[in-house]
Assembly symmetry: C2
Homo-oligomer: 424 residues x 2
C-alpha cells in the first residue's frame, strides 16, 4: 500500500470514529483519561527504553544538546506527563455548553451549543510530551486525534500512542480516537494537509518554517500558532523600575519561547533615564542589544562597558529565541504603535505606563492576540491565564486568537426547536 | 499601473484605514450609517440611472430574466436597502464586548474583548444590495470593507460605493473605510486572494463554483459560506401532517436559496402512510421527485398520476436550487444519520419527530451548522434567528458556523492588566 493511501486510511478511520466520540459523556472521557495516565505510569520502563533508541539515534546524528534534552523522557518527566493528563480530566467538558440560547417571538427555541470539531490533526516537532498532551485535549473535547510528530521522536511517539490506545481498549472506547499518522517523510505531511473532507483542522506547533509550510500548503483549515515577535513599550509615564523588571522578565526568564520579548521601545522623554538603568542590568543578564543610534550613543557615552550592535531591519523582524534584544527610542506613543503594527507577528505586546490615556491609546493602536498592561509578556500562556491546559497559541484572527484550550477545539451547532413552525 | 498593483494599493489603503476605524465609538459609526442611508435616498435617480446601463448591457448579452431581476434597482428597492442600513445602526456594537473576564489568584485582571477583524473583503455575485449590506455591517463592526461584486453590476456597484464614500466624507470619517476592488477580470480576484498580510478575511457569497474557487485559491483566510445540500428526516414518531407541512415549506417556500431542502428521508415504519399523503401534495406544488425504489413503487402502485424519477448518486449530492427533491426510505434513524453524514454539505438538517430519544440521537448523529427540530429548514437565516442582519451562512467549522452577523466580523484580544507582575 502506498504512503498516501495509508495516510488517507488513517484519516478515514479518524472520521468514522469521530461520530462515536461525539456522544460520549464527560464521565466516559474522564475515565479514559485516567486510564491513559495509569497506563503511562505502568509502562514507564517500556517507554523510557524505546525513547533511549530515539535519543541514541539523535546523538549519533550529531543533534544539538538542547534538542536531545527536549527529546529525552525520564521516569520523572513521564510522571509529569501522566499528571497533566489527569489534570485534563479535572477540567470541565466544553461539549454541550450552550453559548447562546433564547426564545424567538414566534416561539422557536434557539440554542447555539458546542460540539466537537471532529478530526483534529497535530503536526509538531521534537517534544514527545505534545503527543500525550494533544491526545488528552482532543479526547476531552470529543475529537479524534491524528498525531504527526517529528521523525526524530518516531519510536517514542509510536510507543506513547500504543500505550494510550491500549488504555482506550481497556475502557471499551474506540482505539482510533488516538492515531499516529504513518510515515516519516515530508510527503506524509503533505498527504495529511490534503485530506480535506476527512480532517477538520490542522494545528501546527513548532518553528516558523514548519508553521509557514503548513499554512501555505494545506487545503485542510489550519490554525496558525505560536510565532512571536513580541514588543515591550516603555511609556513616558512608566515607573522605570517596574519597566525594567518587566523587560528583564519578558526577555530572560525563558528566552526560547514564543512569548519572550524580542524588542524594547522606549519613549524619548524617559529614554536617557531608562537606558541608564537598563543597559548594565541587561548586560549582566547576558543580553546582547541591537540598538538604534540613540541607544548606541547612550551605551557609548555613559556605559562604555556595554556593547550595543547597530540595529537593522532584520533585527526588528527577528524572533531571536535567544538573549538578543532589539532596542529603539520612539518620539511618542503613536510611533511605538506604528513600529509594532509594522513589525509584530501579532502575538503579544506589553505597555508599561501609569497613564490611563496612554494605555487606552496603546490598546487601540496595536492589533495583537494579547496585550500586557504593566505585566510580563510571559503571561500569554494557557496555564498562566487559568485555562488549565493549552494546545497552542493562535496568532491568526479567525476562530481563536491567543492561548487555545478545550473550547477552542470545538465548533458550534444551532439547534432550533419548534412545534411545526414554517415560514409564512 | 498594472492591475495587481492597483488591487494591492487598495488593500494597503484599507489596512491603513483599519487602525483609524478601530477606536471609533458606536455613535460615530451609527451617524455614518444614517448618513449613508440618507445619501442613498438622496441619490436615487443617479443610482437608478447608472443601474439601467448595467441592466441594458446584461439584457443585450442575453442574460436570463431571473438574473436581470436580481440586478435591477428600482427606487423602491433602493429605499429598502437604505432602511436596512438604518437597521444596522440600531444593532448593538460588537466591538468592546467582553467575552470573558476574570481576576487570577495572583491579581492579574484578564479580559477577552471583541475587536474589529481589520480588513474584510467580500467577493459576490449579481445582487447589488450586497454591496451596501456588506459595507454597512463592516463599518458597524469597525472593519475596512473591500467589495468585489460581479462585473455585470460594475457600474451600479461603483456608484453605490461612491455615494457611500461621499457620506463618509461628509461625516468626517475616512472614505477608504469602504472601497471597491478595481478591475473586472478574474485576475483581479486572484490578486485580492493573494493579498495575505493586507486582507484579514475573505467572505465569498454566490454559487458553489465561486465559493470553491475562493476556498481553493486564496492564501488569505476564507470563511466558506452558503452551499446547502439540506435534508428533512421524517421519523417513525413524526406527526405526519406536521412533517408534510415542514417538508413542503422547506422545499417550496423559496427553492432558490441555500436553506431550501434538497432531500427527504423517511423512516420505513411510516413510509407508506407518509408517501400516500406527500406524493400528491408535492406533485401539486410542482415538485419533481427523484426517488429510491420504495418511493418509485409507492408512486406506481397508489398514485399512478405522480411521476418519480429513479434517484442517482448525483441526486443525493445535488443542491438543486429548483423544485427537484431527492427522496428515500431508511430502515432506521441511524441509517438516516449515515446518509446525511455522507451526502450533506453541513448546512442544515431537519428532524420531524415526537420522540425525545430520536431527537437526541439525531442531534448526535448529524454534524451540520444547524439542526431544525420540528421546524422548517428555512429558519437557518440571520434575520429569522433574530440577528438583525446577516453577512452570510458559514458551512465551515472554524471561526463561525451557521448564520453570521456582527460578532462574527470581529476577533478578540486578551488584555491582561497587572501592577508590575512578572513570572517567577
Amino acid at each position: 500500500m502506498d504512503e498516501r493511501q495509508e495516510v488517507l486510511d488513517v484519516a478515514q478511520r479518524a472520521k468514522n470514529t469521530a461520530s462515536m466520540l461525539r456522544p460520549l459523556t464527560r464521565a466516559d472521557k474522564d475515565r479514559a483519561l485516567r486510564a491513559i495516565a495509569a497506563g503511562l505510569r505502568a509502562n514507564t520502563e517500556r517507554i523510557v527504553t524505546v525513547n533511549a533508541t530515539d535519543v541514541d539515534t539523535a546523538a549519533s546524528n550529531g543533534t544539538a544538546a538542547g534538542i536531545i534534552d527536549r527529546l529525552t523522557l525520564s521516569g520523572e518527566r513521564l510522571a509529569e506527563i501522566a499528571d497533566a493528563v489527569e489534570q485534563v480530566a479535572e477540567l470541565p467538558d466544553p461539549v454541550g455548553e450552550v453559548v447562546r440560547g433564547y426564545v424567538l417571538p414566534n416561539g422557536l427555541h434557539v440554542q447555539q451549543t458546542r460540539v466537537p470539531m471532529g478530526v483534529v490533526a497535530m503536526i509538531y516537532e521534537a517534544r514527545p510530551n505534545v503527543t500525550v498532551d494533544a491526545a488528552a485535549l482532543c479526547l476531552k473535547s470529543g475529537n479524534a486525534a491524528l498525531l504527526r510528530g517529528s521523525s526524530s521522536a518516531y519510536a517514542t511517539n509510536t510507543v506513547l500512542v500504543d500505550v494510550m490506545r491500549e488504555a482506550l481498549a481497556r475502557e471499551g472506547l474506540p482505539q482510533d480516537a488516538i492515531q499516529r499518522v504513518p510515515g516519516t517523510s515530508h510527503e506524509s505531511v503533505t498527504h495529511l494537509m490534503n485530506a480535506r473532507g476527512l480532517v477538520d483542522v490542522i494545528i501546527p506547533r513548532g518553528g516558523a518554517g514548519l508553521i509557514r509550510a503548513v499554512v501555505e500548503g494545506s487545503t485542510v483549515p489550519v490554525i496558525e500558532t505560536g510565532v512571536g515577535n513580541v514588543h515591550v513599550y516603555v511609556d513616558a509615564a512608566a515607573d522605570l523600575d517596574m519597566a525594567l523588571a518587566i523587560l528583564v522578565n519578558s526577555k530572560t526568564q525563558r528566552y526560547s519561547v514564543c512569548n519572550a520579548a524580542e524588542t524594547v521601545l522606549v519613549h524619548a522623554d524617559v529614554a536617557e533615564a531608562f537606558l541608564a538603568k537598563a543597559l548594565p542590568v541587561l548586560a549582566d543578564k547576558g543580553v546582547t542589544l541591537h540598538g538604534d543610534p540613540v541607544v548606541v550613543k547612550a551605551a557609548q557615552t555613559s556605559h562604555a562597558d556595554v556593547t550595543v550592535e547597530p540595529v537593522t531591519d532584520e533585527d526588528w523582524a527577528a524572533e531571536y529565541y535567544s538573549l538578543d534584544l532589539a532596542a529603539g527610542v520612539v518620539p511618542d506613543l503613536e510611533s511605538a504603535c506604528q513600529h509594532i503594527r509594522r513589525w509584530s507577528s501579532g502575538h503579544t505586546e506589553a505597555i508599561v505606563s501609569d497613564s490611563a490615556a496612554a494605555i487606552a491609546q496603546f490598546l487601540n493602536g496595536v492589533d495583537s492576540a494579547a496585550v500586557m498592561v504593566n505585566a510580563s509578556t510571559r503571561f500569554t500562556d494557557g496555564g498562566e491565564l487559568g485555562f488549565g491546559a493549552e494546545i497552542g497559541i493562535s496568532t491568526q484572527k479567525l476562530h481563536a486568537r491567543g492561548p487555545m484550550a478545550l473550547p477552542e477545539l470545538t465548533t458550534t451547532t444551532y439547534v432550533v426547536t419548534g412545534s411545526g413552525h414554517i415560514r409564512p
